[in-house]
């Protein structure tokens, strides 16, 4: 007979260790710690960048120096010492890989532990993987197949070399360096990331996927992702993250920019499982990310995220609905455990007529964690018939955790319709009773309820990713959900 109760579930959550905590021992080419103009010039030189990009970096650095770290988020942490971080780290091999066999076996092993063996990925799933290990792209597959369609999918540094006109045209248009403290920092020191361009009218035949991974101790990662879908194009982009176990805090300040031109559609899915720190709240990744997309006429951007990792998360994937009839969506599951803190949500800025946005946010707090939703729905004067629906639910697992909601709703147009609702509760005894009365064991009932609770969001993930997301959710809520 199963006597699995919510308390036990909570206990399990507390006891569960981070599964992906391992360090790959690769010699890294690291620049001296600290941040100044010389370091930025050094990074730019190492990456063989054109002058306009160096100037962009220096300008961003100047802006960053004027700014102070934001404190409005509902999180508490030891502020990173920006002078104690090494801003560039690349695996040391200088020669390019001729074939997959040439790749350092240890790196392959890392991928294997992550469950994304390159060969398998290529053969079985048809997903092109741009694997970023400490800032430098190691292998890119399916490039040719994609290039037949005119799709550009490569690392950001390659894009700078090969398609400077596109990068220069779009970079910083959605998230300018002046946007916020971490965006400015990223603008100054970003090392690599992904670039994706889908030409007019092309529907990308496969999901594009990038695995980011933080490695060498003490190096922060500053990715920059730029996805441009030209008129009538469609792309589904996947981003997944795992990081090795570390004792000191690691800073991650990425910038993601999406640009959906007229009639285009971008679907951006994230599974984030960085090292959340140990049970005492020691260590873990600081995840301070700026993600934003802009929609032109009839365009659509859809963000889906499953957040289970990081010690501190500060992240608001947003949509600027500039064009008429454009659509923005945000689906999120955020799980926090032990001493994790998450302040996440979205911003939907309605500028165009008949714009629509949907926000579905599900938070699950366990252990001693704090989980906040912070969102903004802004209807501007010209956004006739704008429509928004927001739903933010929180599930509390223990009496020591917290769940908070901070929605901002600003409306300046009388034809707009805005709905917002939020609930906070624990797993209802009546729900449990209902299931158990029908012969479902308590453990299964809890798993069923949690699964059902997140289903709305998980359903939004592409097939290839849904499996991984469920795996991560299962690990995060081990012993109860499967």
């Amino acid at each position: 007979m199963s006597n699995y109760t919510e308390n036990e579930l909570a206990k399990d959550l507390e006891n569960q260790e981070y599964k992906f905590g391992f360090v790959t021992d690769i010699e890294a080419d690291t620049v001296p710690i600290g941040l100044n103009e010389d370091i930025i010039r050094l990074i730019s030189l190492k990456k063989n960048e054109p002058e306009w990009l160096l100037n962009y970096r220096l300008k961003a650095f100047g802006i960053w120096q004027e700014m102070t770290e934001p404190e409005w988020a509902h999180v508490q942490y030891q502020k990173p010492d920006f002078q104690a971080i090494s801003y560039y780290s690349a695996p040391k091999q200088t020669k390019k890989y001729e074939s997959w066999d040439d790749v350092d076996p240890e790196m392959k092993e890392t991928m294997k532990k992550l469950g994304i063996s390159m060969e398998e990925q290529q053969r079985l799933t048809g997903v092109a993987v741009d694997f970023v290990m400490d800032s430098v792209s190691v292998a890119t597959s399916f490039k040719e197949k994609l290039s037949e369609l005119g799709i550009i999918f490569c690392s950001f540094s390659d894009a700078v070399q090969e398609h400077p006109e596109l990068v220069q045209k779009y970079m910083g248009t959605v998230v300018p360096s002046t946007d916020n403290f971490y965006a400015a920092l990223n603008g100054a020191v970003f090392t690599d990331g992904s670039f994706c361009y889908i030409p007019k009218g092309v529907r990308c035949p496969m999901e594009l996927s990038t695995y980011f991974r933080i490695n060498a101790g003490g190096t922060g990662q500053f990715e920059r992702t730029l996805v441009v879908a030209d008129e009538g194009a469609y792309v589904s982009y996947l981003e997944g993250c795992t990081a090795p176990q570390r004792d000191e805090n690691q800073l991650h300040a990425a910038v993601v920019e999406l640009i959906a031109l007229n009639d285009a559609e971008i679907k951006y899915s994230t599974v984030q499982n960085w090292y959340p720190g140990d049970k005492q709240g020691k260590g873990g990744v600081f995840n301070f990310v700026t993600k934003r997309g802009i929609c032109e006429t009839n365009a659509k951007i859809s963000w889906t995220q499953v957040e289970t990792g990081s010690a501190v998360t500060w992240k608001y994937p947003s949509c600027i609905l500039k064009g008429d009839n454009s659509v923005g969506e945000f689906y999120s599951v955020a799980v926090t455990n032990n001493y994790q803190q998450a302040d996440t949500g979205t911003k939907m800025v309605h500028l165009g007529k008949n714009t629509k946005s949907t926000i579905i946010s599900k938070g699950i707090s366990a252990g001693k964690s704090q989980n906040s939703y912070r969102g903004l729905v802004q209807i501007h004067k010209g956004a006739q018939n704008a429509r928004n629906f927001s739903q933010c639910d929180s599930l509390l697992m223990t009496d020591e955790c917290g769940a908070h909601t901070f929605p901002y709703i600003e409306c300046k147009n009388p034809t707009a319709k805005i709905e917002h609702e939020a609930t906070t509760s624990k797993i209802g005894e009546d729900q449990l009773f209902y299931c158990m009365q029908r012969g479902i064991s308590e453990e299964k009932a809890i798993s069923l309820i949690v699964n059902g609770y997140c289903k709305e969001v998980l359903n939004q993930l592409p097939m290839e990713f849904a499996v991984e997301a469920q795996k991560l959710l299962a690990i995060s809520l081990e012993g109860s959900v499967g």
């Binding site: 509390l396 697992m397 709703i409 600003e410 409306c411 034809t415 906070t424």
Partner: protein, 412 residues
């Protein structure tokens, strides 16, 4: 030694003397400390994100002038009540009070709670500069036969008021706080209202805010509730160009119930902000919050509701809703319903909507022969009537209906 007036805030209160009321020295010191280096809050301050105080800072306030009794009595809304008149420096306290009810000038220690926690500079300024106020206490087991009415009339100048209420165990009372404006004077008032509610007491507060253009009307409501008490604040904003309500209820005893309701009818350039905080400190309590409003012309409505559930406040039920109808292209609504929850066995929800009238409902009425205008009016009246149902007092209700009719051409 001469002190230099370094900022606009100090300049703003430069002509005000120290408070004449009973305010503990420790609290004054805390307020002094809080105000150190503070200036007028800007829109960068979270609590003033939607409120521009430049208008107040630049306003030319009329000279304060005292009204006579006849003028004051014109502003009364209730005929049968224990009515207190507050106007600038003067206060009129009724005679022949029933046993159990005491009304005094707020110059003695009235047993009020003094918490040195500040949300904004005005609360701290009030502590230092309050010139006028009453303390009202109702003995235990006392049920008032008729309501208390406080008519506060503004007639120019800059005033900080401080009113204290003490309700004994099992006491029952209804209080109407009517805020009015004499003529077309430009004035500022900040009113601190404090309610101390003992066990089992049943208290209803109605705030009728009916000031005119050019009056800056600030309120700070602070309440503490003991076990099994029932407390209700209804904030009804009929008129006033600049109204700001900051209400905070701390629930300190189990099985207490709290109702916060608000309604606002805005037009022209009105700015009305309602900030509420319900602090659930103990288990087994319930709170209900409903704020509704319509905004026409170039008006702005702001709602910021916070429900705070502390770690030990298990079995809390907290509901909050805010609904708005925008009637014009230049009106705007900013709503921020917040939940901050540290206990797990709770049921908390909030909802916020902003929209316009339902086309189907309008069609239904049009099909039955109503003109477009009257169909709209009917639906808007019905929308707002939700909150008005709490006003059980006929006289007040008809006064409100009359005022709304005057301003919006709605027929009741």
């Amino acid at each position: 030694m001469e002190t230099l007036i370094s900022n606009k805030l100090l300049q703003f209160v430069a002509d005000l003397g120290p408070t004449k009321l009973h305010v503990p020295v420790s609290l004054q010191a805390a307020a002094q400390a809080y105000l150190k280096d503070q200036d007028f809050p800007t829109t960068k301050t979270e609590r003033f994100k939607y409120t521009r105080l430049a208008k107040l800072n630049n306003a030319q306030l009329s000279a304060a002038h005292q009204l006579d009794v006849a003028q004051l009595e014109q502003h009364s809304v209730l005929t049968d009540a224990y009515t207190i008149y507050v106007n600038n420096d003067q206060i009129k306290i009724p005679q022949n009070l029933p046993t159990g009810l005491e009304i005094n000038l707020n110059t003695q220690d009235s047993g009020a709670f003094h918490e040195a926690s500040f949300y904004d500079v005005f609360g701290a300024l009030n502590i230092l500069h309050a010139q006028n106020g009453v303390s009202i206490s109702l003995a235990k087991n006392c049920t008032l036969d008729k309501p208390i009415q406080i008519v506060q009339v503004n007639s120019g100048g800059k005033y900080f008021y401080r009113h204290h209420f003490n309700f004994g165990a099992n006491a029952e009372a209804t209080i109407f706080f009517v805020s009015k404006q004499q003529d077309q004077t430009t004035s500022f008032s900040h009113t601190h209202l404090q309610y101390n509610i003992a066990q089992d007491a049943r208290i209803k507060i109605f705030k009728l805010q009916d000031t005119a253009q050019n009056h800056f009307d600030f309120y700070e409501d602070r309440a503490q509730q003991a076990a099994k008490s029932h407390f209700e604040i209804n904030t009804l904003t009929l008129d006033g160009s600049f109204v700001r309500n900051d209400t905070m209820v701390a629930i300190k005893g189990e099985h207490a119930q709290t109702y916060l309701n608000g309604a606002y009818w805005l037009k022209e350039e009105q700015h009305v902000a309602n900030y509420t905080t319900i602090d659930h400190q103990v288990a087994n309590c319930e709170s209900f919050e409903t704020y509704k409003g319509v905004a026409a012309d170039r008006s702005t409505a702001v709602f910021n509701g916070k429900v705070f559930v502390r770690k030990d406040a298990q079995k809390t039920n907290a509901y909050q809703s805010n609904a708005n109808v925008l009637l014009s292209e230049n009106a705007s609504v900013n709503s921020k319903p917040e939940l901050e929850i540290y206990a797990d066995d709770v049921k908390c929800s909030h909802g916020s909507t902003t929209g316009q009238l339902d086309d189907n409902a309008l069609f239904y009425l049009r099909a039955r022969g109503l003109s477009s205008a009257s169909a709209k009016t009917l639906l808007l009246q019905a929308f707002m009537e939700d909150v008005l149902t709490y006003v059980k007092h006929e006289e007040v209700l008809s006064y409100m209906h009359q005022r709304i009719a005057e301003r919006f051409n709605w027929n009741y």
